[in-house]
């Protein structure tokens, strides 16, 4: 039986800039920031209350999985906002929204009542969409 998710990937345009966004704007913590053989940077962040779920901030670069053209295409798609980074939960969507707006986070939609709670839609600094959700209790 699978018990949890340990890692999920967010493709970003620049790891340093993404780290600044997820750490200093969203308030995530750095999990790993390791130089791996082959020049690969293994960079993960996590919400303070969930160290067991690491988000891998990875740049699509030419390598074993992507050829040059594919890496370029993925970068273009990120910039166009074609990818979603997932759903981040909060206890108070309105307050978190206001806090993030003050920090310069770009929102596509302010807190709005949905069937499952209150949700705002934002972009990270690569162009990935993410939802900020306050679940119905």
């Amino acid at each position: 039986m699978i018990t949890s998710i340990a890692h999920a990937t967010i493709y970003v345009l620049n790891q340093d800039e993404a780290l600044d966004f997820y750490k200093n704007k969203l308030g995530f913590e750095v999990g790993d920031d390791m130089k791996v053989e082959g020049g690969f940077r293994w960079l993960t962040v996590y919400p303070k209350s969930k160290p067991e779920l690491q988000l891998v901030l990875a740049e699509p670069k030419e390598g074993p999985m992507f050829n040059k053209e594919a890496a370029h295409k993925i970068r273009s798609l990120i910039e166009e906002g074609a990818f979603g980074a997932g759903v981040f939960e909060t206890a108070d969507c309105q307050k978190t929204y206001e806090m993030l707006v003050a920090k310069g986070v770009e929102f596509i939609q302010p807190p709005t009542k949905q069937l499952y709670g209150i949700e705002a839609l934002a972009l990270d600094n690569s162009g990935n969409w993410f939802s900020l959700v306050q679940r119905e209790k």
Binding site: A6, H7, T9, G27, E29, D32, D33, M34, K35, V36, E37, G38, F40, W42, K48, S49, K50, P51, V56, A58, K61, G63, P64, M65, A91, D92, K95
Partner: protein, 139 residues
């Protein structure tokens, strides 16, 4: 205390521990920093983050030590001090508990696996990522 304010205070405590991991950090220091009593801070911290401030401090120290063991040439004793422990025995036993092996064994093992000096081997990250980004499958 309003929910937002409580989280802000707890986060301030969390950050305090992360910033001062290499110094002696007491519960009362962190609670004072968060403007809460030690009793309430401890309870609220555990409820919010799922670990006590002390468990967080140990986790951060051991993670820093793991990184230093691979990317720096300091001795284990130096690393022990640099992550905030006075006793090498305490450090080694906490490291063993968290990493599953002694610090020297951890360093020797990972260094022997890596093809580059002071770099983590591909085996240190999940295989799906190692294959995806490095084209390597662990043997």
């Amino acid at each position: 205390m309003a929910m937002g304010s409580k989280i802000k205070r707890l986060n301030a405590g969390w950050e305090f521990i992360a910033e001062h991991f290499n110094t002696p950090v007491s519960l009362s220091d962190v609670a004072n920093h968060s403007c809460m009593s030690s009793y309430h801070f401890l309870r609220a911290f555990k409820d919010t983050y799922g670990e006590t401030p002390h468990e967080l401090l140990i986790r951060i120290r051991i993670e820093k030590a793991k990184k230093m063991l691979i990317t720096e040439n300091f001795s284990v004793s130096e690393i022990c001090e640099r992550v905030g422990y006075i006793s090498l025995g305490s450090f080694s036993s906490l490291f063993l508990k968290q990493a599953g092996m002694a610090p020297t064994v951890y360093r020797r093992k990972l260094w022997s696996l890596s093809s580059e000096a002071y770099c983590f081997p591909s085996q240190a990250i999940p295989a799906c990522y190692a294959y995806h980004f490095l084209g390597k499958l662990a043997k």
